[in-house]
């Protein structure tokens, strides 16, 4: 009797369990889609949570990345040892060339200083920087970003420029207590105002996840050719003008592409630079700078 009752309960329970099982999958899938909508709608909260999580995992990532970095350095050192003679030769020639350039730069600097003095030019604000180690290049095929070991307590702020030895690599998009995320200039969502140097043509550097980002909003008849240097324009106030970004590597009917000066796959350290800018990132919460009239009116009694 008892066993028969158990059997009927089991017979009833099996389809129920199957239903609950299927229902739980549907619930999880719906939750995933819901998360996508939340991620699109409420970027501030999501960013805060991301920063906390990255903070929590940065020490582990730091420990993991240290041996990888030293292995990479060892391979590079061995490679250099093999090419020592040729490298020495190349450096000697480069040194000669650079000495000439140094003379030119010194002359120009003196001339520049005297002209600035004559014109009473306002100097750019002083820059300060922190250097941070790269502990993760996350995102796989769809996101180009780095996690670095400097955060709010080191003075890092959202929107600061990230530089490496050769030029701009990206900007800070997320700041935790002791870690932050850098969006590289090649990322799909990265936009950087630039000028093409010889012609002073303005454009916006826009990533599309390829190794070489594109130049957007170029005037149709812009005189851009392969080999032109591209530097930041300083528009938007996030970055000062004149930081090197890359050179034009392709200019044709499929648009203009830039080869960044820095090899973005091999960055070990970055400088996060505070130029005292007052610009705001697209998607920032609220205006970073209040309109002048509004401030003035508020002060009036």
């Amino acid at each position: 009797m008892k066993s028969r009752a158990n059997g009927s309960v089991l017979r009833l329970a099996a389809p129920l369990r199957a239903f609950a099982h299927r229902f739980s999958f549907a619930l999880l899938l719906m939750a995933a889609v819901g998360l996508m909508m939340v991620g699109k709608a409420d970027t501030v909260v999501v960013e805060g949570v991301r920063a906390r999580i990255v903070d929590a995992f940065t020490p582990i990532l730091g420990a993991f990345s240290a041996p990888a970095a030293s292995a990479a350095r060892m391979i590079e050192a061995a490679d250099e040892l093999v090419r020592l003679h040729a490298e020495n030769d190349r450096l000697r020639r480069e040194n000669e060339l650079l000495t000439q350039w140094q003379q030119a730069a010194l002359r120009l600097e003196a001339e520049n200083r005297s002209l600035r003095g004559l014109l009473n030019v306002q100097a750019d604000p002083q820059a300060s920087f922190v250097t941070a180690r790269v502990v993760a290049d996350a995102g796989g095929a769809y996101v180009r970003s780095l996690i670095v070991t400097a955060g709010r307590r080191d003075g890092v702020k959202r929107g600061q420029a990230a530089l490496s030895g050769h030029g701009v690599v990206g900007r800070v998009v997320e700041v935790g207590e002791w870690s932050s995320r850098i969006l590289l200039i090649t990322d799909l969502n990265a936009r950087l105002p630039v000028v093409v140097e010889p012609s002073r043509t303005r454009a916006v550097l826009g990533g599309d996840n390829a190794d070489q980002p594109r130049l957007l909003y170029l005037p149709p008849e812009a005189p851009v050719s392969v080999g032109d240097r591209v530097v930041t324009s300083g528009h938007g106030g996030l970055m000062p003008a004149g930081l090197p970004v890359g050179v034009v590597s392709y200019a044709g009917e499929r648009g203009v592409r830039i080869q960044p000066f820095e090899d973005l796959g091999r960055i070990e350290h970055v400088q996060l630079v505070d130029f005292g800018g007052t610009g705001s990132l697209v998607g920032d919460t609220g205006p970073a700078v209040e309109p002048a009239e509004k401030v003035g009116m508020g002060r009036q009694p």
């Binding site: 939340v38 990255v54 990345s65 990888a68 993760a136 995102g139």
Partner: protein, 171 residues
């Protein structure tokens, strides 16, 4: 009494082995290797681990856990929120429906099954990212990543098998 406690602790430790492998592989996958061009095509180690454990120990890596792992990965890597949970739960669902076939089949069949699932997962990633960014994202790196993931599956599968035998079969 004490023996029972230690035994339970030992069993609990063994039972978290699958989850630990998934988490460790997630972090290992994020380590910058400083190889030119590696980052965008770095194989999806988490996908391999989830595939293996969903076949062999679905009781220890549940669908809700797959969801949470995906969420953690989204938060850490800066991917649009929700993409990894969606892919992992879908992969889990497909694996579970074909589980019996994977358990009795040869390794070749298992590899083929993984190849199909990895290709499907890559397509879902691509579509989701395109929709969320409202633009056509390059599919090249995604395809290369899927191929590399499939190609490296035997090595990681062997590692999972060794871990499986070492931690979960003798007890």
């Amino acid at each position: 009494m004490m023996g029972g406690f230690w035994h339970k602790l030992d069993q609990a430790g063994r039972n978290v082995a699958p989850l630990s492998t998934v988490l460790v592989l997630m972090l290992v996958g994020m380590v910058p290797l400083h190889l030119p061009g590696w980052g965008p095509v770095a194989p999806q180690l988490v996908l391999m681990a989830l595939f293996y454990w969903a076949i062999h120990r679905p009781d220890l890596v549940r669908p809700s856990l797959a969801f949470l792992i995906g969420l953690l990965q989204d938060l850490l890597t800066g991917m649009p929120l929700g993409v990894n949970p969606l892919v992992y739960v879908l992969v889990y669902l497909v694996v579970l429906s074909q589980r019996r076939f994977f358990l009795i089949g040869s390794f070749g069949m298992l590899w083929l099954g993984f190849a199909l699932i990895a290709a499907g997962a890559s397509a879902v990633y691509w579509i989701a990212v395109c929709v969320l960014n409202m633009s056509l994202v390059q599919a090249g790196p995604a395809a290369a990543q899927a191929i590399l993931t499939i190609a490296l599956f035997p090595i990681f599968s062997w590692i999972f098998m060794r871990l499986h035998r070492a931690f979960l079969l003798e007890a």
